[in-house]
Amino acid sequence: MAQITLKNLGKMFPPDVVAVADVNLTIGDGEFFVLLGPSGCGKSTTLRMIAGLEEATSGDILVDGRRVNDDDPADRDLAIVFQNYALYPHMTVAENLAFGLKLRKVAPTEITSRTAATSRMLGIEPLLKRKPRELSGGQQQRVALGRALVRQPKAFLFDEPLSNLDAKLRATMRTELIKLHQSLGATIVHVTHDQVEAMTMGQRICIMKDGHVVQVGPPMEVYRNPADTFVAGFLASPPMNLLDARVVDHAGGLAVALGEARLAVPGAFNGAYGAWRDRDVVFGIRPEDMHDGAGPGGRTPLDVRVVAVEALGPEVVLVAALADGREIHARLGPGFVAPIGSQQRLHLDLGAMHLFDRETRKAIAQRGTG
């Protein structure tokens, strides 16, 4: 298994489209690393540069400390699973699995045993004699995975491999991939635009936007401390509520002015937020940090008007409007009911609040010097 390091990696498509800019990452040996971002953010291009299918226009790619920029894809000893599986349509499943090994001049007996082991592991033994067009999407997915596994590469590169599956199958495959990673202990770089996949599978996730890395870290770390409004708004569904606001003096401390409402900032943050007094900020709060009851105390009330109530079963998502009409989402307990248009009081847990610089969109530190 291997460690993959990217140094100042960049990709420019002629004439002047910057697809990836200045990416610095180190993916640890045996790590399940997720590249997350919306389409066009450069995550696939980054993966393809690691694979060798695209040439980097600047920077270095190192596998186990060795620079591989100029190596052929085959010589990098990495395996990729494509979004569309890219099976060889004219070969049977067995031939698909064996093709790479044959080209690498692996002994026939070894090919047979490896193919058998891999197909057993993935449960595709009954399919070995079939052609790809006779397989379902999920089966093709497994074969594509098998083709990567059978090679026993230094690392696996997954290019949105689950995006063509239906929701149920996707959930199953997610779990299987996690198990697979655990049993193999392999280095995996997984590209996806699905934040659920990223959150559930990755040991660390890297969020990209417009070719740049925005934030890297363990999923919950990134979730709790988004580096900017983009990350805050990208993770989870519904995502963090982001509302333009101002920091004002209030009752001897600070408050967030949200229209007419004043939300008192917890004293612990006063030091750090003090410098932002009378300045424009973006106020952020996750839907789950708003409640329909006052609770044990310390929560801040906010009056809203009910716009919609979406009962999802285990929870209810309340879509509500502030006095000035701006909408927010709150995740409430399954028992919540309220008539549309009625006034409701929400209780905010401001210990979980975030402030972002309105101009740079970057998070404002909650503690320390500020």
Partner: protein, 293 residues
Amino acid sequence: MAAGALARRDQRFGLLLTAPGLAALLLVVLFPLGFAVFTSLFDYTLVHPNHDTFVGFDKYVEAWNADYLPDALWTTVKFVVASVVIEFVIGFSVALALNRVTRFKNVYYIILLAPLLMNPVVVAQLWRMILHSELGIMNYVLGMIGIGKINFLGDPVAAFWTVVLVDIWHQVSFMAILLLAGLAALPREPYEAARMDGASAVQTFVHITLPLMRPVIAVALLLRLIFAIKTFDIVFIMTKGGPGTATDLISYFIYRSAFFGLDVGRASAMSVALLLIVLALTIYLYRYMKSLA
């Protein structure tokens, strides 16, 4: 039951929609074909253009015994194999090269298409001038680079290959463009997978491109094969089948039977026989290709 009625109604409506097309096909394909088959059973000549004298299969026997028919058949076989095989090799090479090209693609397309757009009569006349053994530009150029003059249309062997090469010049772009369309439509992913699997350019071609292209190749070969068997204009203009019988193709042979020999019955018999041969060949090749795929 209701679904059955619906299906029947759909079927009837479908038939109604296709009826004009089918009728047109019947008129322009089946009627002439039927007429040819019918005529081949009569002593129908241009001097006596009528179906008065029924002769059964006499015209087929007569056609089979026609002087120089074996020469024409053999020449046609050689011509078809030579031109189709060479066109395939050149056409595939050109298609592979062009498939990689991104700049000036349209320019290449136009250059490729130019011969194809030319009337075969014009093509043949043009080459006849270029290949004039004494005054043509080709021998002039060959002379300049120290190769002796070639008697392109006078020497039997040279004349055969000249006709083959002119046909290739004229038709190769058909092959190239058909194959290029096939190549352009191939999925990109298997190629990337092959690169990851460590396939070299040659291995990729053999293990990925060729198998994926098989249906297109089959169609291209089949179409060119049928066209090649029907080749007429080039021979008609350039050699009249000569020198001797070196370039006497079957379609020109049949043409002469009808318009020189005035014997439409015999020409029809030959045409029908040729049609059956081509049909059998087509079915056989089609099956063979399908079994490979």
